[in-house]
């Protein structure tokens, strides 16, 4: 009887935590004019890749910003949260190689979460991770070949994926030890879901523009926190 009551209490506590959990939302904006993106000219020297761009060549996407200044590809996370990863049971995240580019170029996962790397191109790629804290790996991926699966045990910001066959191909994967992170979309918006109430430091990181932090308090009805980056 006592055991049942204990389980029931724990269940109720867990439910109350989920019910109380709230979302952190916000918009990232960019003030100023970013440097012009450059055409990826080496693509034209590669027969397979250039065939996929009969018109203009693609450009770099360091600053994905719309007319209103909404900034994409900013990784927003709760700073200093460790040991909360649910990565093992989280759905896998996909990273594709398409048009001799990584898509998306910026993404975020949890420690232990599967990252599936696909090759949708008609040519070979090598998927070479260049981590600072996790083990490095370099794997073959033939056209139409099997997907590659990666997991990382240690949190790490902007872990680099590169293809040495096509030296312009990069993706950056931020790895967190908790599910409390998000990447801003093309409208600059982000949502970090189901955050337990409390006081936190929220960090917004852009690969070129650096990081910003804000002290926030998450209440039952959620929290809004915007960030504005300046072009230096």
């Amino acid at each position: 009887m006592k055991k049942s009551l204990l389980i029931l209490s724990l269940g109720l506590f867990a439910v109350s935590q989920i019910t109380n959990a709230a979302d952190i939302t916000g918009v990232i904006t960019l003030k100023g004019t970013p440097p012009a993106e450059r055409e990826i000219t080496p693509i034209k020297d590669d027969l397979n890749c250039s065939a996929m761009y009969p018109g203009a060549l693609p450009k770099t996407t360091f600053y994905v910003v719309d007319a209103n200044g909404d900034l994409a590809d900013v990784v927003v996370s709760l700073k200093g949260i460790t040991g909360k990863s649910t990565g093992a049971s989280a759905p896998p995240v996909e990273l594709d190689q398409k048009g001799c580019l990584y898509t998306p170029q910026i993404l975020a996962i949890q420690t232990g979460q599967k990252l599936i790397v696909k090759n949708s191109d008609p040519c070979v790629h090598n998927v070479h991770t260049k981590p600072a804290d996790n083990p490095e790996s370099n794997q073959v991926q033939m056209p139409g070949g099997a997907d590659l699966t990666f997991t990382f045990d240690k949190p790490e910001p902007f872990l680099k994926f590169q293809c040495d066959v096509h030296p312009w191909m990069f993706a950056w994967v931020s790895v967190f030890d908790s599910p409390y992170f998000a990447v801003s979309g093309k409208d600059g918006k982000f949502t970090i879901k189901n955050v337990p109430p409390g006081k936190y430091t929220l960090e917004a990181a852009h690969r070129k523009l650096g990081t910003q932090t804000a002290e926030i308090e998450v209440k039952a009805d959620g929290t809004v926190q915007n960030f504005t980056f300046d072009v230096k």
Binding site: D46, V124, C163, D164, V165
Partner: protein
């Protein structure tokens, strides 16, 4: 025992040294194009036996890395042939058994349905058949045979280090890989020199001695060039891009400050188009040491050229060779400057690597020839 000059052996040794020089250039292109990891497996290439890897897949960085590997196997094969050739007729039984051994491997691959089977069987048959009519010549001196064996072992070590650099994702193994390549080039070129007509001629003709001071001077400068090449290899294998992007000044100064504030300032004002991770104080200092050693080498080679003319006379072959060395240094320093001005353009940087190899080789051959002349002059 008087050993005869064997023109075919000499020219084959020259071919091996020349192929090695080209291989250094191709290796330079691999690093210049950051293509060292573009073929993640070794000794296979994308799962294929490297000789069967489809040409259509030699794309992007793979082209540089894969052709580097193929030329490396050619150099390995040439070195093996050279080592066997130095043993003369003595090597025939070894070849016969070696051919059978390779053929047996081919049969093993055939039973395993491995694609290597025809290559292995074919190579075994060729080696076995060759043993009935090659080599025909007398054996070379024992010490020269040992040099051949050393070259054979060194080329294997070099191949394994190259493979480990790929398999273990160890960028820094590129530094010993580069240093061994330079040593191997000197070794193969030295074998060519020792089998040359000139070397044999000095056995009977009394040549002019070369003063010990001049010989030591050239030796020290040559060692300094080798150290400079190791510094260069270290700079290249940091994959850091240019740490100083102006020349002859360095970040606008004679010797750039490396305080944390100064380094932060360099990184903040990095010109567009420069690539690599943020510059560090170590990298700035390393490039400055590279520049300083370059100046010392230039002064050393200039002194060697003037001294050789003074001590040996302007018409002497070694004096002319020293002036060739001086000219080579001028070209090499220009290439170093062009490397910076072009923001490490791959082709120019690679020519700078090849120029460095040639400068080292020139110094080493000069010293060997001077030592030979002096020794023969003293004996005869």
């Amino acid at each position: 025992m008087n050993h005869k000059y064997k023109p075919a052996l000499f020219w084959f040794a020259v071919l091996t040294a020349f192929a090695t020089f080209l291989l250094i250039g191709l290796g330079g292109l691999v690093t210049s194009h950051e293509a060292g990891m573009s073929v993640p497996d070794w000794p296979n290439s994308y799962g294929y036996n490297m000789f069967l890897f489809p040409v259509k897949d030699w794309i992007g960085g793979i082209f540089y890395e894969h052709t580097h590997r193929l030329l490396a196997t050619v150099v390995g094969m040439f070195t093996t042939i050279l080592a066997v050739w130095l043993f003369g007729k003595e090597a025939r039984p070894f070849l016969r058994w070696g051919g059978l051994f390779i053929f047996a491997f081919g049969i093993y691959f055939y039973l395993k349905h491995a694609p290597e089977a025809p290559l292995c069987c074919g190579a075994g048959i060729i080696v076995f058949a060759a043993s009935f009519f090659w080599p025909r010549c007398e054996q070379s001196p024992r010490w020269l045979q040992w040099l051949g064996i050393t070259a054979f072992l060194l080329v294997i070590v070099q191949g394994v280090i190259g493979g480990l650099r790929v398999r273990l994702n160890m960028d820094y193994l590129g530094i010993p890989h580069g240093a061994i390549a330079q040593t191997f080039l000197i070794l193969t070129a030295a074998i060519a020199l020792f089998t040359s007509r000139w070397w044999h001629r000095t056995e009977t003709e009394k040549p002019k001695t070369v003063p010990g001071g001049l010989r030591r001077h050239v030796l020290y400068v040559t060692i300094l060039i080798f150290i400079q090449l190791v510094i260069g290899a270290t700079m290249r294998h940091q994959h850091a891009g240019l740490s100083i992007w102006d020349f002859p000044l360095a970040h606008g100064q004679l010797w750039p400050a490396t305080t944390p504030e100064a380094i932060a300032n360099y990184n903040a004002h990095r010109p567009p188009g420069t690539v690599g991770h943020p510059v560090t104080a170590f990298e700035v200092n390393l490039q400055m040491i590279h520049r300083l050693v370059a100046l010392l080498i230039f002064l050393g080679v200039t002194a060697a050229a003037f001294l050789a003319r003074k001590k040996l006379g302007g018409a002497d072959g070694l004096a002319k060779f020293a002036w060739f060395w001086f000219g080579l240094l001028l070209v090499q320093i220009s290439l170093g400057a062009a490397t910076i001005w072009s923001n490490k353009a791959a082709d120019i940087t690679t020519l700078h690597v090849m120029g460095g190899a040639l400068a080292l080789l020139t110094g080493a051959l000069w010293w060997l020839m001077a030592a030979r002349r002096t020794r023969q002059a003293e004996q005869l």
